[in-house]
């Protein structure tokens, strides 16, 4: 294999790259998002500066079913998203993410810095209940339930599609081979080509169980704000650097 071929590789291993070049298209991506209020001091601690956590103390706990994802396949994801402000503008920070498929774990971490770990999330309709569960290392760490399509979301599919264009960001950390930080950045991206096929709000409940390696419960539930369920198609493109902890802090 020549240096020219190596520099064209989208990812490791050279013999069979984990993921191809982006962007990545998702079809029939289904979300269950339960918004809750948490402790504001703990929220501040979980959000890296220069991001500011939302003043309401809201956290989004999410499950996402992705049955048809270009380059990645069929998988399910679950995690914690914190609405924040960056230079006064609203932005969503992905704090934790758990999924059951290696290419999106590796691509997510290595391209955008999605903080992904391997675990077993599940999102399904069980009789009258949309049910999300997350097992990590054999133990249940999150269980969310939502009533099934009780009401269309305010503003309908157009408002949901608009909401999905909100800028999202991650803390990307890649060590150098000697263990020192090689990449340490806040990275932002915006989903594109969004088509929402249905969007509903309903009562919801959420249960988080303390676990050291999947610490969703570190942001405790004070009050459930509500549940949202929607299905759509969208594209995840490459992103941009918002803040570089190595370069932007250099003397």
């Amino acid at each position: 294999m020549t240096p020219e071929q190596i520099l064209k590789l989208p990812s490791m291993p050279a013999a069979s790259p984990s993921y191809p070049m982006g962007p990545y298209r998702f079809v029939n991506r289904e979300y269950l998002i339960i918004t809750y209020e948490t402790d504001k001091d703990l929220l501040r601690e979980a959000v890296p500066e220069p991001l500011e956590p939302n003043p309401e103390g809201h956290v989004l706990y999410e499950w996402i079913r992705m049955p048809d994802s270009s380059g990645f396949g069929d998988y399910t994801e679950s995690g914690v998203v914190i609405p924040c402000l960056f230079q006064g503008q609203p932005i969503n920070f992905t704090a934790q993410m758990y999924l059951d498929d290696e290419p999106p774990i590796s691509a997510g971490r290595e391209i955008w810095g999605f903080p992904k770990k391997y675990a077993h999330p599940k999102l399904e309709v069980c009789s009258d209940t949309i049910t999300g569960t997350l097992h990590y290392a054999g133990q249940l760490v999150a269980m969310g339930t939502m009533a099934y399509k009780h009401a269309e979301a305010p503003g309908g599919i157009e408002a949901t599609a608009k909401g999905m264009t909100k800028t999202q960001c991650n803390l990307k950390i890649i060590p150098d081979v000697d263990g020192s930080p090689k990449i340490c950045q806040l990275v932002a991206y915006n989903l594109t080509d969004i088509t929402i096929k249905g969007s509903w709000v309903s009562p919801a409940r959420l249960h988080l169980i303390p676990h050291v390696n999947a610490p969703a419960a570190d942001l405790p539930i004070k009050k459930i704000v509500g549940g949202k369920h929607f299905i759509g198609d969208l594209t995840l493109p490459h992103g941009r650097v918002l803040f570089d902890y190595i370069k932007d802090q250099a003397p």
Partner: protein, 246 residues
């Protein structure tokens, strides 16, 4: 979290780093290594320049890692291509499969170990040391070796030499725009290796074609032998041997 604390994080995510800082010590790390002759042209194609193939023999190996500090208990399988770098004998790790996130993410992000999620099992079944690898529900490799047939062999110098050999990986990390941010050959040398035992003997290997776990792309022409080892060792940080972006 303060900006200065962000730079101290060993890994993502902030609230629960996937892997702590190294080095990483392993206890009772058990190997089954099956060496075989393959196709010289396919080996040349699989090996990144400037590495040079060292003959037409490669290996598939299984590892049982019951106690990996910072990582936990897990199993792995890998394909190894013996080669030289500027004349020095090395082992290029071309493919690797594990069933545990910290070594998977840490392996890729620190050293560029080319890890994917696969279910490797290494165990003694009756009279047979057996390694299996399943990827996306399908069997991709089965290796079998006789159990400790040369238990009283005194000279383990070849095995010590093998464990001391430099491992080489191709570390590729994209930038946020998809262009390469890191493209390096990385050299790794295990430290404080304690060889608890080593055995050689007859072995057989079956590799099954699978697109996302393509061990069989280096086809098995003839198995040359099996090696079974139990070690304690430390995996330290590595060093850059070659930078494709420099």
């Amino acid at each position: 979290m303060k900006k200065s604390d962000v730079l101290k994080l060993p890994s993502m995510p902030l609230q629960s780093p996937t892997f702590p800082r190294g080095p990483y010590r392993f206890f009772r790390r058990q190997y089954l290594v099956i060496s075989y002759r393959s196709d010289a042209a396919a080996i040349r194609e699989a090996l990144p320049e400037p590495l040079v193939p060292a003959g037409d023999t490669v290996a598939v190996q299984w590892l049982d890692l019951p106690d990996g500090e910072g990582f936990g208990a897990y199993s792995a399988a890998a394909q190894i291509i013996p080669c030289t770098f500027k004349g020095e004998p090395c082992n290029f790790v071309s493919q690797m499969y594990v069933d545990n996130t910290p070594p998977l993410a840490g392996g890729r992000e620190i050293w560029g170990y080319p890890m994917k999620y696969g279910k490797a099992v290494l165990k003694v079944t009756g009279d047979t040391l057996t390694g299996t690898l399943d990827y996306a529900t399908q069997r991709a490799a089965t290796g079998t070796m006789v159990y400790k047939h040369d238990a009283f062999r005194a000279d383990l110098s070849k095995e010590r030499e093998l464990l001391a050999r430099t491992q080489v990986t191709l570390k590729m990390i994209p930038d946020i725009d998809g262009t390469p941010a890191i493209a390096q050959l990385v050299g790794i040398n295990f430290a404080d290796v304690k060889l608890q035992g080593a055995w050689t003997g007859e072995a057989r290997l079956e590799l099954i074609p699978a697109v996302n776990c393509p061990l069989a792309d280096l086809p098995v022409r003839r198995v040359t032998g099996g090696l079974h080892m139990v070690t304690d060792m430390t995996l330290p940080y590595g060093r850059v041997l070659h930078d494709y972006l420099a």
